[in-house]
């Protein structure tokens, strides 16, 4: 795929002419992947809270939404940003998620060693979000909207250290927070890509 095969400035104006078929196919494929991961992320969240015990998973359970190093939730103003900027933020978040999910999996391997499904799903989530992030980067590059300069590396080691050093309850809350951020960002990515899919909402 060539580096610039379309434009994000007005993706719907000449969508039938400017978006080449393979780019269009790539966008559809990436959007489908985001849609699939949104469902997986919801399932992962449910499975995670089941293994932490009550009150995790109880209606009304509302732990503090603590900030996670290197990643924050989509801002309320995200939806108002230009599409290229939104997609760049999506890509940055997707790049930050894998080491966080790995850290959660390692901690859960200590806390819930007899929950192989949960551990496997956390591992799958890290791998799948990495794939979604790579696919989104490819689309951005093809549209000439990729982020300029190297993306800062997420503090994976620091996060891993924090996850193991904190008490058990804070570690459970951290894992819940990361799973929640994973769900929010793949859902956000799906929504932003839907505006790029030919025939999708403008």
């Amino acid at each position: 795929m060539s580096r610039r095969e379309g434009s994000l400035e007005d993706p719907q104006a000449d969508s039938s002419v400017s978006l080449l078929p393979h780019l269009e196919a790539k966008i559809r494929q990436t959007h489908s992947l985001a849609h699939l991961l949104t469902k997986y992320a919801e399932q992962l969240l449910q499975e995670y809270v089941q293994h932490q015990g009550d009150p995790f998973g109880l209606p009304g359970f509302s732990p503090p939404r603590l900030p996670v190093a290197g990643l924050s939730a989509p801002a309320p103003s995200h939806a108002g940003l230009p599409l290229p900027e939104r997609l760049r933020l999506d890509a940055a978040a997707l790049a930050a998620l894998p080491p966080l999910l790995d850290a959660v999996r390692r901690r859960q391997a200590e806390l819930n060693p007899r929950a192989p499904r949960l551990l496997r799903h956390l591992e799958d989530a890290a791998r799948q979000v990495r794939a979604l992030g790579a696919a989104l980067e490819t689309v951005l590059a093809a549209l000439g909207a990729a982020a300029h300069g190297p993306r800062p590396e997420p503090p994976a080691t620091a996060t891993a250290t924090a996850a193991t050093a904190a008490g058990v309850f804070p570690a459970k809350v951290l894992g819940l927070r990361v799973c929640g951020l994973y769900r929010e960002w793949v859902s956000r990515t799906e929504g932003d890509l839907s505006q790029l899919v030919p025939g999708g909402p403008a």
């Binding site: 293994h51 806390l111 007899r114 996060t159 309850f169």
Partner: protein, 518 residues
């Protein structure tokens, strides 16, 4: 109290966590930016306790602005609010909790003890681990598949429930030298099992044991000493084929191949066969099938589908004196016996009888058949082959057909033969209610069938899923004159042809517990 050495986590104190870099996540206890919210710290953090013990905990509030109060704070444990009388305010910023007689933890990851603000928001949390130290694992059993590997299984002590994650580690070493090794492939044949895939020595004993460890302590099983050669098992016999025996309605032939994995080693194989009717759950087992790869099942129901399985025990491998370990059963193989009157390949066509019974059955012929069965069991003529007997039966069927065609009238004694009552024609036989002639004999459920498999040592033992039956124990009447005469002066044995020689060396009693009434 359960046995086991107390572990390092038995005390509730924990070592303080290392300092966190500034860019790390904010754990519970850090102020929320700009909110003026309070935070708290629970002590102790993540204690480990014995079931039935008590816990004293505190929730200390810090706040912005200062002066945060313990007033209004409350505790929950696993999402359930704890009774106010369990808490007391220690000072302005500290709420204490006293829990007694703790139950085992509800989840592996620990019970969630949470300190809440008046509005229900979470200020701090701590996870409790309440359980028991492990008890000594026991009942270790091991086996080697084709001398290539070793799999062991054990039973955890204390019925396995410690309420804490307990780690089991299988260790092994050569008895007289070598270092301890740890098995790495767990849960291969159940939750408490491990598999050592390679690098095992033969002709030298191993010591094997299991170590169990959790937060409250550890325990070690007794040591099991074994030689790999004494615990060898193998794959089920492959290529099990079940087929009809000509037109014989009550027999099926079973053939199999000895397990190829051990073909290069010196061992004596024992086999067992089990079979059942298609819609039954009761297996009948034919035991002591020694070193043969075929067998004939007899006394079966006509027109019935049977499932058959075979398994192998490679005992005595390399001279081992141990009993050996049975393989798994082979995949079930099914075959059906011919229906009554159905012709089999190469056999005389059966003539349907008026009474639904077998076509042969003048009293002389039936009794001659019974006598021949007895003769085969008790005769000194070890060469008398089952094949010869089958030929005689086929001849009998053919001759009956011939007699029917010339209008021979069947007597009342033949009516009801094959009705499946188990009673002899004409009423109960002297001394017993023996089984019917094989054609339409429906054996009582308690009655055993005997496989026509040869025995190597002259002893036959049979186990039925329905329990032991008394077929062999049935009383026999006195011999009729002809039989008695033959018993005194047995005819010369026919010469054994190579085709007859195998696989049946000794004839098998097809009809058991019959008595001869002349």
């Amino acid at each position: 109290m359960p046995a086991g050495r107390p572990g390092p986590a038995a005390q509730s104190a924990r070592r303080p966590p290392p300092l966190l870099p500034l860019l790390l996540l904010c754990v519970l206890g850090a102020p929320r930016a700009g909110s003026g919210a309070h935070t708290a710290v629970i002590s102790p953090q993540d204690p480990t306790l014995l079931i039935g013990s008590s816990l004293q905990a505190t929730c200390s509030v810090h706040g912005d602005p200062p002066g945060a109060t313990a007033e209004g704070l409350y505790w929950t444990l696993n999402g359930r609010r704890l009774a106010p009388e369990l808490s007391r305010v220690l000072n302005a910023s500290t709420l204490a909790l006293a829990l007694a007689n703790l139950n085992g933890s509800r989840q592996q990851s620990g019970d969630n003890l949470v300190c809440h603000a008046r509005d229900g928001s979470i200020l701090a949390g701590s996870c409790l681990y309440v359980g028991l130290p492990p008890e000594k694992p026991f009942n270790i059993s091991c086996w080697s598949k084709n001398m290539k590997d070793l799999t062991c299984r054990w039973t955890p002590g204390a019925h396995g429930e410690t309420f804490l994650h307990t780690n089991y580690s299988l260790k092994y070493k050569l008895r007289w030298y070598g270092q301890d090794n740890t098995c790495e492939e767990y849960h291969t044949v159940g939750p408490h099992s491990c598999h050592v895939p390679k690098d095992l020595a033969l002709f030298t004993p191993y010591e094997i044991w299991v170590e169990a460890t959790n937060r409250l302590g550890s325990a070690r099983s007794d040591v099991l000493t074994l030689d790999i050669l004494d615990v060898v098992t193998t794959d089920p016999p492959p290529d099990v084929h079940v087929s009809r025996v000509g037109g014989l309605e009550d027999q099926l032939s079973v053939r199999w191949v000895s397990p190829p994995a051990l073909k290069d080693f010196l061992f004596q194989a024992k086999y067992q066969i089990r079979y059942r009717v298609e819609d039954s759950v009761d297996w009948k087992v034919v035991d002591d099938v020694s070193n043969q790869t075929s067998c004939r099942l007899a006394g079966l129901k006509p027109g019935t589908v049977y499932f058959v399985q075979v398994r192998c025990n490679p005992f005595g491998i390399y001279g081992s004196k141990k009993a050996g370990i049975w393989s798994e059963w082979s995949h079930p193989t099914a075959a059906s016996t011919p229906r009554s009157g159905e012709a089999g390949p190469g056999s005389p066509r059966a003539t349907p009888s008026r009474g639904g019974g077998e076509p042969s059955s003048g009293p002389v012929r039936r009794e001659l058949k019974q006598f021949l069965g007895w003769l085969k069991k008790h005769a000194y003529c070890s060469n008398l082959s089952f094949r010869l007997y089958d030929q005689w039966r086929a001849w009998m069927q053919k001759s009956h057909k011939t007699r029917n065609q010339v209008g021979r009238r069947r007597g009342p004694a033949q009516v009801g033969v094959g009705e499946g009552t188990g009673r002899g024609a004409g009423g109960k036989q002297a001394g017993e209610a023996g089984p019917q002639p094989p054609r339409h004999r429906r054996l009582p459920s308690k009655h055993r069938t005997r496989g026509s498999c040869p025995r190597a040592d002259g002893a036959r033992r049979e186990v039925s899923g329905a329990g032991r039956a008394g077929g062999r124990g049935a009383r026999r009447g006195p011999l009729p004159p002809l039989a008695a005469g033959l018993a005194r002066n047995p005819p010369p044995c026919p010469s054994l042809r190579a085709a007859d020689a195998q696989p049946l060396r000794l004839p098998v009693v097809v009809f058991s517990g019959v008595s001869l009434a002349w």
